[in-house]
Protein backbone atom coordinates (compact mmCIF):
# COMPACT_ATOMS: atom_id res chain seq x y z
CA UNK A 1 0.00 0.00 0.00
CA UNK A 2 1.26 3.46 -0.88
CA UNK A 3 2.33 5.74 1.96
CA UNK A 4 2.03 8.88 -0.19
CA UNK A 5 0.14 11.63 1.64
CA UNK A 6 -3.35 12.32 0.34
CA UNK A 7 -3.36 15.41 -1.90
CA UNK A 8 -6.91 16.79 -1.88
CA UNK A 9 -6.58 18.64 -5.21
CA UNK A 10 -5.02 15.67 -7.02
CA UNK A 11 -6.32 12.52 -5.35
CA UNK A 12 -9.93 11.48 -4.98
CA UNK A 13 -11.15 9.81 -1.82
CA UNK A 14 -12.17 6.20 -2.16
CA UNK A 15 -15.94 5.97 -2.40
CA UNK A 16 -17.40 3.51 0.03
CA UNK A 17 -21.03 4.59 -0.22
CA UNK A 18 -23.99 3.07 -1.93
CA UNK A 19 -25.12 2.79 -5.54
CA UNK A 20 -28.46 3.52 -7.16
CA UNK A 21 -30.00 2.11 -10.37
CA UNK A 22 -28.90 3.96 -13.51
CA UNK A 23 -30.21 3.34 -17.03
CA UNK A 24 -27.59 5.01 -19.21
CA UNK A 25 -29.27 4.10 -22.52
CA UNK A 26 -32.65 5.43 -21.37
CA UNK A 27 -31.02 8.65 -20.10
CA UNK A 28 -29.18 9.13 -23.39
CA UNK A 29 -32.32 8.51 -25.44
CA UNK A 30 -34.36 10.96 -23.37
CA UNK A 31 -31.58 13.57 -23.68
CA UNK A 32 -31.50 13.24 -27.47
CA UNK A 33 -35.29 13.55 -27.71
CA UNK A 34 -35.39 16.62 -25.42
CA UNK A 35 -32.50 18.37 -27.20
CA UNK A 36 -34.03 17.59 -30.60
CA UNK A 37 -37.39 19.00 -29.46
CA UNK A 38 -35.76 22.12 -28.02
CA UNK A 39 -33.82 22.58 -31.26
CA UNK A 40 -37.02 22.21 -33.25
CA UNK A 41 -38.85 24.78 -31.11
CA UNK A 42 -36.01 27.31 -31.36
CA UNK A 43 -35.70 26.77 -35.12
CA UNK A 44 -39.45 27.20 -35.67
CA UNK A 45 -39.69 30.36 -33.57
CA UNK A 46 -36.40 32.05 -34.39
CA UNK A 47 -35.15 30.57 -37.69
CA UNK A 48 -31.67 31.62 -38.79
CA UNK A 49 -30.23 34.70 -40.48
CA UNK A 50 -29.27 34.68 -44.15
CA UNK A 51 -28.25 38.12 -45.32
CA UNK A 52 -27.25 37.86 -48.98
CA UNK A 53 -23.56 38.02 -49.78
CA UNK A 54 -22.26 41.34 -51.09
CA UNK A 55 -20.82 41.15 -54.58
CA UNK A 56 -18.41 43.51 -56.26
CA UNK A 57 -21.29 44.14 -58.66
CA UNK A 58 -23.72 45.12 -55.90
CA UNK A 59 -21.07 47.23 -54.17
CA UNK A 60 -20.05 49.14 -57.32
CA UNK A 61 -23.67 49.74 -58.30
CA UNK A 62 -24.62 50.92 -54.81
CA UNK A 63 -21.59 53.18 -54.47
CA UNK A 64 -19.48 53.55 -57.65
CA UNK A 65 -17.35 56.30 -56.11
CA UNK A 66 -16.38 54.10 -53.16
CA UNK A 67 -15.54 51.32 -55.58
CA UNK A 68 -13.41 53.58 -57.77
CA UNK A 69 -11.64 55.09 -54.74
CA UNK A 70 -10.91 51.60 -53.39
CA UNK A 71 -9.61 50.51 -56.80
CA UNK A 72 -7.35 53.56 -56.76
CA UNK A 73 -6.07 52.57 -53.30
CA UNK A 74 -5.25 49.13 -54.68
CA UNK A 75 -3.36 50.88 -57.50
CA UNK A 76 -1.48 53.41 -55.38
CA UNK A 77 -0.69 50.95 -52.60
CA UNK A 78 -2.65 52.61 -49.79
CA UNK A 79 -5.37 49.98 -49.39
CA UNK A 80 -5.45 47.63 -46.41
CA UNK A 81 -4.46 44.68 -48.58
CA UNK A 82 -1.73 46.53 -50.49
CA UNK A 83 -0.02 47.48 -47.22
CA UNK A 84 -0.87 44.28 -45.32
CA UNK A 85 2.36 42.28 -45.26
CA UNK A 86 2.42 38.52 -44.74
CA UNK A 87 0.90 36.23 -45.85
CA UNK A 88 -0.12 38.39 -48.85
CA UNK A 89 2.90 40.57 -49.62
CA UNK A 90 6.07 42.15 -48.25
CA UNK A 91 4.58 45.64 -47.79
CA UNK A 92 4.74 45.61 -43.98
CA UNK A 93 6.50 43.80 -41.16
CA UNK A 94 3.15 42.93 -39.64
CA UNK A 95 2.19 42.64 -36.00
CA UNK A 96 4.76 42.00 -33.29
CA UNK A 97 4.52 39.90 -30.18
CA UNK A 98 7.36 41.55 -28.29
CA UNK A 99 10.35 40.98 -30.59
CA UNK A 100 8.56 38.21 -32.52
CA UNK A 101 7.19 38.89 -36.00
CA UNK A 102 5.37 35.59 -36.45
CA UNK A 103 3.55 36.46 -39.66
CA UNK A 104 6.72 37.70 -41.34
CA UNK A 105 8.62 34.58 -40.33
CA UNK A 106 6.07 32.39 -42.05
CA UNK A 107 6.34 34.61 -45.10
CA UNK A 108 4.27 35.37 -48.18
CA UNK A 109 2.31 32.15 -48.78
CA UNK A 110 -0.78 33.61 -50.46
CA UNK A 111 0.80 36.18 -52.76
CA UNK A 112 -1.44 39.09 -53.66
CA UNK A 113 -0.22 41.96 -55.82
CA UNK A 114 -3.13 44.38 -55.68
CA UNK A 115 -2.08 46.25 -58.86
CA UNK A 116 -1.77 43.13 -60.91
CA UNK A 117 -4.40 40.87 -59.27
CA UNK A 118 -7.13 43.44 -58.63
CA UNK A 119 -6.66 45.88 -61.52
CA UNK A 120 -4.46 44.92 -64.47
CA UNK A 121 -5.18 41.19 -64.89
CA UNK A 122 -8.97 41.58 -64.59
CA UNK A 123 -8.85 44.41 -67.16
CA UNK A 124 -6.74 42.25 -69.47
CA UNK A 125 -9.41 39.55 -69.30
CA UNK A 126 -11.96 41.97 -70.78
CA UNK A 127 -12.86 41.77 -74.45
CA UNK A 128 -11.50 44.63 -76.54
CA UNK A 129 -13.03 47.86 -75.27
CA UNK A 130 -12.37 51.15 -77.06
CA UNK A 131 -9.38 52.73 -75.40
CA UNK A 132 -8.75 49.98 -72.85
CA UNK A 133 -6.32 47.95 -74.90
CA UNK A 134 -4.17 50.93 -75.71
CA UNK A 135 -4.37 52.10 -72.07
CA UNK A 136 -3.15 48.70 -70.88
CA UNK A 137 -0.41 48.66 -73.50
CA UNK A 138 0.67 52.09 -72.31
CA UNK A 139 0.63 50.92 -68.66
CA UNK A 140 2.49 47.68 -69.31
CA UNK A 141 5.07 49.43 -71.49
CA UNK A 142 5.90 52.12 -68.92
CA UNK A 143 8.61 52.05 -66.26
CA UNK A 144 7.49 51.80 -62.65
CA UNK A 145 8.51 55.42 -62.00
CA UNK A 146 6.33 56.58 -64.89
CA UNK A 147 3.46 54.43 -63.59
CA UNK A 148 3.94 55.94 -60.12
CA UNK A 149 3.86 59.45 -61.60
CA UNK A 150 0.54 58.77 -63.38
CA UNK A 151 -0.96 57.20 -60.25
CA UNK A 152 0.20 60.10 -58.06
CA UNK A 153 -1.32 62.67 -60.44
CA UNK A 154 -4.61 60.81 -60.46
CA UNK A 155 -4.55 60.31 -56.67
CA UNK A 156 -4.01 64.04 -56.12
CA UNK A 157 -7.07 64.88 -58.19
CA UNK A 158 -9.18 61.97 -56.91
CA UNK A 159 -10.73 63.67 -53.84
CA UNK A 160 -12.95 65.53 -56.35
CA UNK A 161 -13.97 62.32 -58.11
CA UNK A 162 -17.53 62.19 -59.40
CA UNK A 163 -19.68 59.64 -61.09
CA UNK A 164 -21.42 61.41 -63.95
CA UNK A 165 -23.48 59.89 -66.76
CA UNK A 166 -22.24 56.43 -65.86
CA UNK A 167 -18.59 57.43 -65.96
CA UNK A 168 -15.95 57.96 -63.27
CA UNK A 169 -14.74 61.52 -63.73
CA UNK A 170 -11.49 62.87 -62.28
CA UNK A 171 -9.92 66.03 -63.64
CA UNK A 172 -6.37 64.76 -63.55
CA UNK A 173 -3.56 65.84 -65.83
CA UNK A 174 -0.53 63.69 -66.64
CA UNK A 175 -2.34 60.60 -65.32
CA UNK A 176 -1.58 58.53 -68.42
CA UNK A 177 -3.88 55.49 -68.78
CA UNK A 178 -5.04 55.55 -65.14
CA UNK A 179 -8.39 57.37 -65.75
CA UNK A 180 -9.32 54.80 -68.41
CA UNK A 181 -8.24 51.89 -66.22
CA UNK A 182 -10.20 53.06 -63.16
CA UNK A 183 -13.28 53.91 -65.19
CA UNK A 184 -13.24 50.66 -67.16
CA UNK A 185 -12.65 48.62 -64.02
CA UNK A 186 -15.69 50.34 -62.49
CA UNK A 187 -17.79 49.49 -65.56
CA UNK A 188 -16.48 45.94 -65.40
CA UNK A 189 -17.40 45.74 -61.69
CA UNK A 190 -20.91 47.12 -62.30
CA UNK A 191 -21.53 44.51 -64.97
CA UNK A 192 -20.55 41.65 -62.63
CA UNK A 193 -17.57 40.66 -64.76
CA UNK A 194 -15.04 41.63 -62.08
CA UNK A 195 -16.57 39.21 -59.55
CA UNK A 196 -15.89 36.44 -62.00
CA UNK A 197 -12.44 37.65 -63.03
CA UNK A 198 -11.28 37.83 -59.40
CA UNK A 199 -12.18 34.21 -58.63
CA UNK A 200 -11.33 32.52 -61.91
CA UNK A 201 -7.78 33.84 -62.06
CA UNK A 202 -6.41 30.40 -61.22
CA UNK A 203 -8.67 28.29 -63.38
CA UNK A 204 -12.23 27.33 -64.26
CA UNK A 205 -13.06 25.53 -61.01
CA UNK A 206 -12.48 27.49 -57.86
CA UNK A 207 -13.57 27.60 -54.26
CA UNK A 208 -11.12 30.28 -53.14
CA UNK A 209 -12.60 33.75 -52.52
CA UNK A 210 -9.49 35.30 -51.01
CA UNK A 211 -9.10 37.98 -53.69
CA UNK A 212 -12.66 39.31 -53.95
CA UNK A 213 -13.02 39.21 -50.15
CA UNK A 214 -9.83 41.20 -49.62
CA UNK A 215 -10.86 43.71 -52.28
CA UNK A 216 -14.30 44.05 -50.70
CA UNK A 217 -12.85 44.34 -47.20
CA UNK A 218 -10.74 47.32 -48.35
CA UNK A 219 -13.89 49.32 -49.11
CA UNK A 220 -15.79 51.68 -46.86
CA UNK A 221 -19.05 50.27 -48.19
CA UNK A 222 -18.47 46.79 -46.73
CA UNK A 223 -17.63 48.22 -43.31
CA UNK A 224 -20.70 50.47 -43.36
CA UNK A 225 -22.95 47.46 -44.01
CA UNK A 226 -21.35 45.64 -41.07
CA UNK A 227 -21.74 48.73 -38.90
CA UNK A 228 -25.49 48.79 -39.60
CA UNK A 229 -25.65 45.18 -38.49
CA UNK A 230 -23.61 45.88 -35.31
CA UNK A 231 -20.78 43.67 -36.47
CA UNK A 232 -17.71 45.89 -36.35
CA UNK A 233 -14.80 45.31 -34.01
CA UNK A 234 -15.92 47.90 -31.48
CA UNK A 235 -19.36 46.26 -31.48
CA UNK A 236 -17.97 42.91 -30.31
CA UNK A 237 -17.10 42.06 -33.90
CA UNK A 238 -17.06 38.61 -35.30
CA UNK A 239 -18.79 36.86 -32.40
CA UNK A 240 -22.04 38.46 -33.58
CA UNK A 241 -24.06 37.67 -36.65
CA UNK A 242 -26.67 39.62 -38.60
CA UNK A 243 -30.03 40.09 -36.93
CA UNK A 244 -30.90 39.32 -33.32
CA UNK A 245 -29.08 36.01 -32.96
CA UNK A 246 -26.65 34.83 -30.32
CA UNK A 247 -23.86 34.19 -32.85
CA UNK A 248 -20.62 32.76 -31.53
CA UNK A 249 -21.28 33.84 -27.95
CA UNK A 250 -18.58 31.43 -26.79
CA UNK A 251 -16.00 33.82 -28.29
CA UNK A 252 -16.96 36.50 -25.75
CA UNK A 253 -13.65 36.44 -23.91
CA UNK A 254 -11.62 36.66 -27.14
CA UNK A 255 -13.77 39.55 -28.40
CA UNK A 256 -13.83 41.23 -24.98
CA UNK A 257 -10.12 42.10 -25.11
CA UNK A 258 -10.64 44.10 -28.31
CA UNK A 259 -13.01 46.43 -26.42
CA UNK A 260 -10.58 47.56 -23.70
CA UNK A 261 -7.22 49.37 -23.45
CA UNK A 262 -4.50 48.81 -24.37
CA UNK A 263 -5.77 46.41 -27.03
CA UNK A 264 -8.45 48.66 -28.54
CA UNK A 265 -5.76 51.11 -29.65
CA UNK A 266 -2.78 48.81 -30.16
CA UNK A 267 -1.34 48.15 -33.61
CA UNK A 268 -0.42 44.69 -32.34
CA UNK A 269 -3.82 43.92 -30.80
CA UNK A 270 -4.46 40.74 -32.81
CA UNK A 271 -1.23 39.00 -31.97
CA UNK A 272 -1.30 40.17 -28.35
CA UNK A 273 -4.84 38.90 -27.85
CA UNK A 274 -4.09 35.63 -29.64
CA UNK A 275 -1.00 35.15 -27.51
CA UNK A 276 -2.97 35.81 -24.34
CA UNK A 277 -5.80 33.49 -25.38
CA UNK A 278 -3.28 30.74 -26.14
CA UNK A 279 -1.82 31.19 -22.65
CA UNK A 280 -5.26 31.14 -21.03
CA UNK A 281 -6.26 28.06 -23.03
CA UNK A 282 -3.01 26.36 -22.03
CA UNK A 283 -3.79 27.27 -18.42
CA UNK A 284 -7.28 25.79 -18.69
CA UNK A 285 -5.85 22.63 -20.24
CA UNK A 286 -3.23 22.22 -17.52
CA UNK A 287 -5.31 23.22 -14.48
CA UNK A 288 -4.96 19.70 -12.98
CA UNK A 289 -1.20 20.24 -12.78
CA UNK A 290 -1.07 23.87 -11.57
CA UNK A 291 -0.97 24.22 -7.78
CA UNK A 292 -3.15 27.09 -6.64
CA UNK A 293 -5.38 26.99 -9.70
CA UNK A 294 -6.37 23.39 -9.10
CA UNK A 295 -7.21 24.27 -5.47
CA UNK A 296 -9.81 26.89 -6.47
CA UNK A 297 -12.77 24.47 -6.58
CA UNK A 298 -11.92 23.02 -3.16
CA UNK A 299 -11.47 26.45 -1.62
CA UNK A 300 -14.51 28.12 -3.18
CA UNK A 301 -16.64 25.20 -1.97
CA UNK A 302 -19.10 25.46 -4.86
CA UNK A 303 -18.91 21.66 -4.83
CA UNK A 304 -20.94 21.63 -1.62
CA UNK A 305 -23.83 23.04 -3.63
CA UNK A 306 -23.38 20.47 -6.39
CA UNK A 307 -23.16 17.52 -4.01
CA UNK A 308 -25.40 19.03 -1.32
CA UNK A 309 -27.46 15.83 -0.95
CA UNK A 310 -24.29 13.83 -0.43
CA UNK A 311 -23.01 16.18 2.27
CA UNK A 312 -26.45 16.52 3.90
CA UNK A 313 -26.62 12.75 4.18
CA UNK A 314 -23.17 12.57 5.70
CA UNK A 315 -23.52 15.29 8.32
Amino acid sequence: MSNKPFRPDVDAPEYKGGYSPYDIIKEGTIAIVIVAMLTLILAVFFGSPDEKAVTVKSWSNANPIDFAQTALEELNGTSGTAGYGAPYNHAAVGQKLGPLTLGKWVGVRIPINTVSDFIVKPLESQPALPGLQSALAQWNGASSSTQNGWVTSYTNAAPKMSYTNGQVVVNATNAGPVPVMINDLTQMARSGALDQALITGSGYYTTDYTKPLLFLADSEYFGSLADKQHLTGSQWGMMNETGQYPGQAWLWLYTFWYQIPPFNSSANADVLIWGMMMLLTGGLLLIPFIPGLRAIPRKTKVYRLIWREHYNNHE
Binding site: Y15, P87, R109, T207, E241, T242, L285
Partner: protein
Protein backbone atom coordinates in the same frame (compact mmCIF):
# COMPACT_ATOMS: atom_id res chain seq x y z
CA UNK B 1 -1.71 -23.39 -32.33
CA UNK B 2 -0.81 -23.46 -28.62
CA UNK B 3 -2.60 -21.39 -25.98
CA UNK B 4 0.60 -19.42 -25.41
CA UNK B 5 0.74 -18.61 -29.09
CA UNK B 6 -2.87 -17.39 -29.05
CA UNK B 7 -2.20 -15.33 -25.94
CA UNK B 8 0.66 -13.62 -27.75
CA UNK B 9 -1.50 -12.53 -30.71
CA UNK B 10 -1.99 -8.78 -31.05
CA UNK B 11 -5.75 -9.30 -31.32
CA UNK B 12 -5.93 -11.35 -28.12
CA UNK B 13 -3.77 -8.89 -26.24
CA UNK B 14 -5.80 -5.92 -27.41
CA UNK B 15 -9.08 -7.63 -26.48
CA UNK B 16 -7.80 -8.59 -23.04
CA UNK B 17 -6.47 -5.12 -22.42
CA UNK B 18 -9.70 -3.46 -23.60
CA UNK B 19 -12.03 -5.74 -21.63
CA UNK B 20 -9.74 -5.49 -18.60
CA UNK B 21 -9.83 -1.70 -18.63
CA UNK B 22 -13.42 -1.40 -19.70
CA UNK B 23 -15.51 -4.47 -18.91
CA UNK B 24 -19.09 -4.32 -20.30
CA UNK B 25 -20.57 -3.43 -16.90
CA UNK B 26 -18.33 -0.34 -16.80
CA UNK B 27 -19.00 0.62 -20.41
CA UNK B 28 -22.76 0.34 -20.00
CA UNK B 29 -23.32 0.58 -16.24
CA UNK B 30 -26.70 -0.12 -14.64
CA UNK B 31 -25.89 1.51 -11.31
CA UNK B 32 -24.09 4.67 -10.29
CA UNK B 33 -22.76 6.06 -7.01
CA UNK B 34 -25.48 7.80 -5.00
CA UNK B 35 -23.58 11.11 -5.07
CA UNK B 36 -24.27 11.39 -8.81
CA UNK B 37 -27.47 13.28 -8.19
CA UNK B 38 -27.31 16.87 -9.33
CA UNK B 39 -28.66 18.83 -12.27
CA UNK B 40 -25.09 19.60 -13.27
CA UNK B 41 -24.68 16.02 -14.52
CA UNK B 42 -27.39 16.64 -17.10
CA UNK B 43 -25.13 18.98 -19.09
CA UNK B 44 -22.60 16.32 -20.04
CA UNK B 45 -25.22 14.09 -21.60
CA UNK B 46 -26.97 17.15 -23.06
CA UNK B 47 -23.71 18.10 -24.81
CA UNK B 48 -23.50 14.62 -26.32
CA UNK B 49 -27.15 14.71 -27.34
CA UNK B 50 -26.69 18.13 -28.97
CA UNK B 51 -23.59 16.86 -30.79
CA UNK B 52 -25.70 14.08 -32.29
CA UNK B 53 -28.33 16.61 -33.45
CA UNK B 54 -25.59 18.91 -34.81
CA UNK B 55 -24.08 16.06 -36.82
CA UNK B 56 -27.49 14.83 -38.01
CA UNK B 57 -28.57 18.25 -39.28
CA UNK B 58 -25.09 18.84 -40.74
CA UNK B 59 -25.33 15.57 -42.67
CA UNK B 60 -28.65 16.66 -44.20
CA UNK B 61 -27.10 20.00 -45.24
CA UNK B 62 -24.11 18.14 -46.70
CA UNK B 63 -26.31 15.86 -48.82
CA UNK B 64 -27.69 18.81 -50.78
CA UNK B 65 -24.52 20.91 -50.80
CA UNK B 66 -23.46 24.27 -49.37
CA UNK B 67 -25.86 26.49 -51.37
CA UNK B 68 -29.07 24.49 -50.92
CA UNK B 69 -30.14 26.30 -47.77
CA UNK B 70 -30.26 29.67 -49.57
CA UNK B 71 -32.55 28.31 -52.26
CA UNK B 72 -35.02 26.15 -50.40
CA UNK B 73 -37.44 26.68 -47.52
CA UNK B 74 -36.67 23.21 -46.18
CA UNK B 75 -32.95 23.83 -46.58
CA UNK B 76 -33.21 27.06 -44.60
CA UNK B 77 -35.16 25.26 -41.89
CA UNK B 78 -32.51 22.53 -41.65
CA UNK B 79 -29.92 25.30 -41.37
CA UNK B 80 -31.94 26.80 -38.50
CA UNK B 81 -31.97 23.38 -36.79
CA UNK B 82 -28.20 23.16 -37.30
CA UNK B 83 -27.67 26.66 -35.86
CA UNK B 84 -29.79 26.12 -32.76
CA UNK B 85 -28.39 22.68 -32.03
CA UNK B 86 -24.93 24.28 -32.17
CA UNK B 87 -26.05 26.98 -29.72
CA UNK B 88 -27.44 24.31 -27.35
CA UNK B 89 -24.25 22.25 -27.80
CA UNK B 90 -22.00 25.13 -26.75
CA UNK B 91 -24.28 26.21 -23.90
CA UNK B 92 -24.39 22.68 -22.48
CA UNK B 93 -20.67 22.17 -23.03
CA UNK B 94 -19.67 25.37 -21.24
CA UNK B 95 -21.96 24.67 -18.25
CA UNK B 96 -20.55 21.11 -18.21
CA UNK B 97 -16.99 22.49 -18.26
CA UNK B 98 -17.54 24.88 -15.36
CA UNK B 99 -19.49 22.25 -13.43
CA UNK B 100 -16.56 19.86 -13.79
CA UNK B 101 -14.15 22.61 -12.80
CA UNK B 102 -15.97 23.24 -9.53
CA UNK B 103 -16.11 19.50 -8.90
CA UNK B 104 -12.32 19.25 -9.37
CA UNK B 105 -13.13 16.50 -11.84
CA UNK B 106 -9.48 15.84 -12.67
CA UNK B 107 -8.87 14.27 -9.26
CA UNK B 108 -8.13 10.59 -8.87
CA UNK B 109 -6.15 10.12 -12.07
CA UNK B 110 -8.70 11.86 -14.27
CA UNK B 111 -6.33 14.52 -15.65
CA UNK B 112 -6.55 13.17 -19.19
CA UNK B 113 -10.33 13.20 -19.04
CA UNK B 114 -10.19 16.91 -18.21
CA UNK B 115 -7.62 17.58 -20.91
CA UNK B 116 -9.50 15.76 -23.68
CA UNK B 117 -12.55 17.77 -22.63
CA UNK B 118 -10.68 21.08 -23.00
CA UNK B 119 -9.20 20.05 -26.36
CA UNK B 120 -12.68 19.04 -27.54
CA UNK B 121 -13.93 22.47 -26.49
CA UNK B 122 -11.18 24.19 -28.51
CA UNK B 123 -11.79 21.91 -31.52
CA UNK B 124 -15.50 22.73 -31.28
CA UNK B 125 -14.75 26.47 -31.34
CA UNK B 126 -12.70 26.05 -34.53
CA UNK B 127 -15.46 23.89 -36.00
CA UNK B 128 -17.97 26.61 -35.17
CA UNK B 129 -15.82 29.30 -36.79
CA UNK B 130 -15.29 27.26 -39.97
CA UNK B 131 -19.06 26.75 -40.11
CA UNK B 132 -19.73 30.46 -39.79
CA UNK B 133 -17.28 31.29 -42.58
CA UNK B 134 -18.72 28.55 -44.84
CA UNK B 135 -22.27 29.92 -44.86
CA UNK B 136 -21.78 31.65 -48.24
CA UNK B 137 -23.61 34.80 -47.15
CA UNK B 138 -22.84 38.21 -45.67
CA UNK B 139 -22.08 36.75 -42.24
CA UNK B 140 -19.42 34.48 -43.68
CA UNK B 141 -17.93 37.35 -45.69
CA UNK B 142 -17.72 39.63 -42.66
CA UNK B 143 -16.62 37.04 -40.11
CA UNK B 144 -13.91 35.65 -42.40
CA UNK B 145 -12.47 39.06 -43.26
CA UNK B 146 -12.39 39.92 -39.53
CA UNK B 147 -11.01 36.55 -38.40
CA UNK B 148 -8.19 36.59 -40.93
CA UNK B 149 -6.32 39.37 -39.11
CA UNK B 150 -6.01 37.45 -35.85
CA UNK B 151 -4.92 34.25 -37.55
CA UNK B 152 -2.55 36.05 -39.94
CA UNK B 153 -0.90 37.84 -37.00
CA UNK B 154 0.13 34.43 -35.60
CA UNK B 155 1.43 33.24 -38.97
CA UNK B 156 -1.28 30.58 -39.08
CA UNK B 157 -3.27 32.34 -41.79
CA UNK B 158 -0.71 31.28 -44.37
CA UNK B 159 -1.91 27.69 -43.99
CA UNK B 160 -5.41 28.09 -42.54
CA UNK B 161 -6.94 30.65 -44.89
CA UNK B 162 -10.39 31.63 -43.62
CA UNK B 163 -11.05 33.44 -46.91
CA UNK B 164 -10.71 30.18 -48.83
CA UNK B 165 -14.26 28.83 -48.81
CA UNK B 166 -13.32 25.38 -50.13
CA UNK B 167 -10.64 24.88 -47.49
CA UNK B 168 -12.92 26.05 -44.68
CA UNK B 169 -15.81 23.86 -45.81
CA UNK B 170 -13.53 20.80 -45.90
CA UNK B 171 -12.30 21.54 -42.38
CA UNK B 172 -15.86 22.13 -41.22
CA UNK B 173 -17.49 19.02 -42.63
CA UNK B 174 -14.62 16.50 -42.65
CA UNK B 175 -11.50 17.17 -40.58
CA UNK B 176 -12.88 18.94 -37.52
CA UNK B 177 -15.99 16.75 -37.09
CA UNK B 178 -13.71 13.69 -37.16
CA UNK B 179 -11.50 15.34 -34.53
CA UNK B 180 -14.48 16.36 -32.40
CA UNK B 181 -16.08 12.92 -32.55
CA UNK B 182 -12.83 11.05 -31.83
CA UNK B 183 -12.00 13.39 -28.93
CA UNK B 184 -15.52 13.13 -27.55
CA UNK B 185 -15.35 9.34 -27.85
CA UNK B 186 -12.05 9.25 -25.96
CA UNK B 187 -13.43 11.62 -23.34
CA UNK B 188 -16.52 9.48 -22.75
CA UNK B 189 -14.47 6.25 -22.66
CA UNK B 190 -12.20 7.82 -20.04
CA UNK B 191 -15.21 8.80 -17.97
CA UNK B 192 -16.45 5.21 -18.17
CA UNK B 193 -13.04 3.75 -17.31
CA UNK B 194 -12.35 6.00 -14.33
CA UNK B 195 -15.95 6.56 -13.24
CA UNK B 196 -17.48 9.85 -12.09
CA UNK B 197 -15.22 11.77 -9.70
CA UNK B 198 -16.23 11.32 -6.05
CA UNK B 199 -17.00 14.36 -3.87
CA UNK B 200 -14.23 16.08 -1.93
CA UNK B 201 -13.57 14.78 1.57
CA UNK B 202 -16.05 16.35 3.93
CA UNK B 203 -13.78 18.91 5.56
CA UNK B 204 -16.13 19.28 8.55
CA UNK B 205 -15.72 15.57 9.19
CA UNK B 206 -11.98 15.62 8.57
CA UNK B 207 -11.59 18.50 10.99
Amino acid sequence: MSTTEIDRQWTTRLRKRATGKLPPEKLLPDTQPIYVSSWIYVFGVATLAALIVVIGTGVILAIRGPLWWHQSFIGHFVNSLHLWSVEIFFFAMIVHLWGKFFMGAWRGGRQLTWMTGVVTFVASIVTGLTGYVSQTNFDSQWISTQAKDGINATGGGAYFNVLNFGQMLMWHIVLLPIAAVVLTGLHVLMVRIKGVVPPYEDEKKVA
